[in-house]
């Protein structure tokens, strides 16, 4: 603006200089906190490709001569292949089952006008506030009673159930954003209730499906407490328990332990990097709507 008097220009320059300092400070703080968040992960990555002597001589340095044998050794000796298999099976089945069951229940409450919806919501909400350790023993006794202990079903069944509350609440939030007229039109055109739900409404709440899959997937993949009690034999170990048991055996072979930690975390990190926005939105979708 050429017509501005010089006094205002001077003020503008001062303000710009102040905002430059502000911007620089913003970056400094963010860089420092990012270093705090990422530093330990990078050091783990470095340590995972160091031989034992080179780790002890300089644990934090950048590995100039990466030693990848840790990975093959951890994979073989830690029995990580069956643990990966178990983790994938348990995570996929429980995410699918609880996603479908939770979505149907949410659909019943939002669209099919189930009675007592307040009670239904409190019923599911209870599952989100009861700490895992409180429910652990009763669930173990139940699994024992129905003869599931010692099978992979003993891990799958509790996760299918424990992840239902979150699926339910998130789908309730998302179904509310879809106008009821959509389902009504489909129903009047002769679509059955289940087909309306499955082919019309579910595609409309695709972000909810992603959110539920991510939140429940991360929880099941990483959970440690439940499998610690329920996975009574090593053939049932999921990854967190497998690496803890591996750590018990090779507690001083840090390269090996860190290689196993990286291997167990890699799938989630990969999905996170690829679907980053969905993760961040997923965390908040359950909380704020």
């Amino acid at each position: 603006m050429s017509t501005r008097p010089p006094k205002a220009t001077k003020r503008k320059v001062a303000r710009e200089r102040a905002s430059t300092t502000k911007r620089a400070l913003t970056h400094v703080v963010l860089v420092l906190y990012s270093a705090f968040a990422m530093g330990p992960i990078l050091l783990t990555l470095f340590a995972s490709v160091k031989s034992e002597p080179s780790f002890f001589s300089s644990p934090a340095s950048f590995p100039l001569h990466p030693y990848f044998a840790n990975y093959t050794q951890a994979w073989d000796q830690g029995d990580l292949l069956p643990a990966f298999g178990n983790s994938i099976l348990v995570t996929v089945v429980s995410v699918l089952v609880s996603g479908l069951a939770g979505a149907m229940a949410a659909y019943a409450v939002v669209r099919l006008k189930a009675g007592h919806s307040g009670i239904i919501q409190s019923y599911f909400l209870l599952g989100l506030v009861v700490p895992g350790v409180v429910i652990l023993i009763p669930v173990f006794i139940l699994l024992h009673e129905i003869g599931l202990v010692g099978t992979i079903g003993s891990v799958i069944l509790p996760y299918c159930a424990f992840t239902i509350p979150l699926s339910f609440l998130i789908f309730v939030n998302f179904f509310r954003t879809v106008p009821a007229e959509v389902a009504e039109a489909a129903y009047l055109d002769g679509c059955s209730h289940f087909r309306t739900f499955w082919t019309i409404e579910m595609p409309l709440v695709r972000p909810a499906i992603a959110t539920v899959a991510i939140l429940n997937g991360v929880f099941v993949w990483n959970d440690f407490l439940l499998p610690l009690v329920i996975e009574t034999k090593s053939s049932l170990y999921t990854l967190p328990v497998a690496i803890v048991s591996f750590f018990g055996t090779y507690s001083t072979s840090y390269g090996l332990v860190f290689a196993s930690v990286i291997l167990a975390s890699a799938p989630m990190i990969l999905v996170y990097v690829l679907l980053n926005r969905l993760f961040v939105e997923g965390i908040t979708a359950g909380a704020i709507k």
Partner: protein, 323 residues
């Protein structure tokens, strides 16, 4: 942004024009809501609600999992409320709640405010800062066990290289420092969650509102106090509840860093490790196991949680500003 987590009565809000007219052709006179509800209600009821309620009588017994079941009255509860182990574990959880609350509303909110200025590459910052939140607590525990180890670790040599070698903190072994270390490590893993929740809350504040506030003379801290914070209430409520629940879930980090006993000398014992240890003993089904007493501890924790959540509900109920 009308509601926080739940508590909005469900059912579609009538659209424009349909208020007065009685709807004849609603979905169908008899909706199959029951059939849609059944799988979730049954599965979750059978594996969660039934064991949860069924286990309550256990807390009135001294069953160890093997012996014959017999009731022993309210003795367990008397022991729980007078037990120093239970009270000190509870205190440690309370310290975690308090620390997480402060960290959430200072560090996480601060980071969210900085990111909300949309500096160049803010998405990269957010991705990196949030990354630990997707790591397992087991991985977190291992990483920090090694970093903090006074012999081989990384942190202490780093302090030494900065000329602070004389401090030489015993992060995990000093009774004064151990709980703070557990809190710090747990925060490292979890801190990204409140940050993105606050980020979403800030994003939902309309820019015109902030501009209007600026025109009215609310800038800097004033704008924060009178405009931003009140509008951020829903996010603050969610974060506070999450903080509370998460801090009571604490188990794996303590288990990996300090062992099931909550070393040193129980300084890091939390209700999670206490209940686990009481139920299963320090080894697998050892002689110290007492399922009945463990359940009484669990019930005690539930009571504390319920009181806390009800209190929060009452406190926050009238303090949410709606847009």
């Amino acid at each position: 942004m009308a509601s926080t987590m739940t508590a909005v009565p469900p059912g579609a809000v009538p659209g424009p024009g349909e208020a007065g007219r009685k709807k004849k052709r609603r979905l169908s006179p008899r909706l199959p809501a029951g059939r849609f509800l059944l799988p979730a209600v049954l599965l979750y009821g059978f594996v969660f609600i039934v064991p949860f309620i069924g286990s309550l009588p256990l807390s009135f017994s001294d069953w160890n999992g093997i012996s014959r079941f017999s009731f022993s009255g309210i003795g367990n509860f008397k022991n729980v409320v007078t037990s120093s182990a239970f009270l000190s574990a509870l205190e440690h959880n309370a310290i975690m709640v308090g620390s997480f609350f402060v960290l959430s509303n200072v560090v996480a909110l601060g980071l969210a405010l900085l990111l909300n200025r949309r500096p160049a590459g803010y998405q990269v910052y957010r991705t990196l800062i949030f990354l630990p939140a997707i790591l397992s607590l087991v991985a977190t525990g291992f990483i920090w066990t090694v970093l903090l180890d006074p012999q081989i670790g990384v942190i202490n040599p780093l302090l030494q290289s900065m000329g602070l070698g004389f401090v030489h903190p015993q992060w995990l072994a000093s009774p004064h420092l151990a709980l703070a270390t557990v809190v710090l490590v747990s925060w490292w893993q979890w801190g990204g969650v409140p940050m993105v929740i606050y980020g979403a809350g800030l994003k939902s504040i309309p820019g015109e509102l902030l501009d209007a506030a600026q025109v009215d003379g609310a800038i800097g801290l004033k704008r924060m106090q009178y405009v931003v914070l009140p509008l951020l209430r829903p996010a603050i409520v969610v974060t506070t509840v999450l903080t509370f629940v998460t801090a009571f879930q604490s188990f794996a980090v303590v288990y990996i860093l300090e062992g099931i006993e909550g070393a040193p000398g129980g300084a890091t014992d939390v209700v999670g490790t206490l209940i686990y240890r009481t139920a299963f003993g320090t080894g697998a089904f050892s002689s110290t196991a007492n399922l009945g007493y463990s359940e009484a501890n669990a019930v005690g924790v539930m009571v504390v949680l319920a009181v806390g959540l009800v209190f929060m509900q009452l406190y926050f109920r009238h303090r949410i500003v709606e847009l």
